[in-house]
Amino acid sequence: MPGNAEFESLVARFYAPLYQFAFSLTRAEADACDLTQQTFTIWATKGHQLRDASKVKTWLFTTLHREFLDSRRRQSRFPHFDLETTEAELPAVSPVSVSGLDVSQVLKALAQVDEVFQAPVSLFYLHDHSYNEIAEILEVPLGTVKSRLARGIAQLQQLLARDIAASQPPSNL
């Protein structure tokens, strides 16, 4: 097992981004805390098996994502969908201004995006992961990641545009 100082340093470096990813997936503080803590517990047990120290970040995010998927399977509330990975035609979208939205509104919209797109879109906006890293974390091919990002972001844009339009008062004619 790594020493306390080494472990604390690792936690200090990664617990916040891991929590952000967990929260964006679960949208519940307690569940996000559990997932984050569970990830480090698994690291304490199995982290020594990782040979390449540069892969620590990816390893932690992959582990958290696996734990999240496992917990959803245990709850059996979320059926698994296999979506085709080819990039389908998407409608052209006009980016709407989202400056008035808060994080809960954004995450609420993200929750309505197809489930398979949610994790890549979260990692994209957390802004600390390259396409290759996202592919490693989610354990899918690079091309699939690019396709899921494009489709997931397009869906999110449409949902945000709809929410913003719905929240605006009707104009006086």
């Binding site: 097992m1 306390n4 472990f7 604390e8 936690v11 200090a12 617990y15 916040a16 929590y19 952000q20 929260f23 964006s24 503080e29 307690a30 569940d31 996000a32 805390c33 559990d34 984050t36 803590q37 569970q38 480090f40 517990t41 698994i42 304490a44 047990t45 917990s71 245990r74 709850q75 059996s76 990039e87 998407l90 052209a92 979208v93 006009s94 980016p95 709407v96 201004s97 989202v98 400056s99 939205l101 808060d102 994080v103 954004v106 979260s122 994209f124 906006y125 957390l126 802004h127 390259s130 396409y131 690019k146 990002l149 494009a150 972001i153 397009a154 844009q157």
Partner: protein, 251 residues
């Protein structure tokens, strides 16, 4: 590449990152330089992307999470170190014999099994389980668990016997059968939960670093206050959705 194809590709573009090295992104960016409408669209997209990124960065961990993770790890490490020092202090022959036994026993490979067990059982209690049977009678609970090859010969602390029994479930952990017995403390229940006091019982040989027989070890694990002890051939893990005093009340 036409304008619509470029837009689809640029959706996943983040300026000042390696995204621009992607050949498709590079081609779409080149098109934006010669297409004023696409350039305006890209500018609006960037404003939106920056705002969404800022939203995600607003997610902040609750106070104390880091400390909780670190302290749980330190406690696990202390237990492991104590176990090691006990081994080292034994006479050489005994140490050799024990080392021989340890080498032949898989427990030497998984020093934090108890921590993982505790963490996963807490997640089960607070998240995703369903009771197999609901009853306030311990007799059918024991019968059900025995029938499903889960520990049924457990001994409840006297105060826990007085708690309101709700039901039970049989589950697995790393190939070992685990009994989950659900109670109520009498306090208001957490939203959506039928119970707020959970007892897990597993054969102690399934947990590599089970504590020695003695007073229950009390610790906070994720959202629950918990007590862990061994008695006979079983390891007991009791969790409560409440305060430290609540767990002590049932020991």
């Amino acid at each position: 590449m036409n304008e619509n194809e470029a837009k689809r590709i640029l959706l996943r573009y983040r300026p000042q990152t390696a995204d621009a090295e992607d050949p498709q992104v590079a081609e779409a960016l080149a098109l934006a330089k010669t297409n004023p409408e696409l350039a305006r669209w890209l500018e609006a997209l960037e404003v939106q992307r920056a705002a969404l990124c800022a939203n995600f960065q607003q997610i902040t961990p609750p106070a104390g999470l880091k400390e909780q993770i670190v302290s749980e790890y330190a406690a696990t490490r202390r237990r492991t170190a104590l176990t090691r020092s006990l081994w080292v202090s034994l006479p050489v022959l005994v140490v050799l014999l024990i080392n021989f036994a340890v080498l032949w026993h898989p427990r030497s490979l998984t020093g934090t099994a108890l921590a993982v067990f505790k963490s996963q059982m807490v997640r089960l209690a607070t998240g995703g389980y369903g009771m197999d049977i609901r009853t306030n009678d311990l007799v059918p609970v024991r019968a059900y668990l025995a029938e499903h090859h889960a520990p049924a010969d457990f001994k409840l602390p006297a105060p826990l016997e007085q708690a309101q029994l709700i039901g039970c479930a049989a589950t697995d952990w790393r190939g070992a059968r685990v009994s989950l017995v659900c109670f109520r403390t009498g306090k208001p229940l957490p939203p959506g939960s039928p119970a707020d006091l959970w007892l897990f019982v597993v054969d102690r040989s399934a947990i590599t670093n089970s504590p020695a027989a003695g007073a229950p070890e009390i610790a906070k694990v994720n959202r629950l206050y918990t007590a862990t002890w061994t008695q006979g051939g079983n390891l007991y893990f009791l969790g409560v959705a409440g305060a430290e005093a609540d767990i002590k009340r049932f020991l």
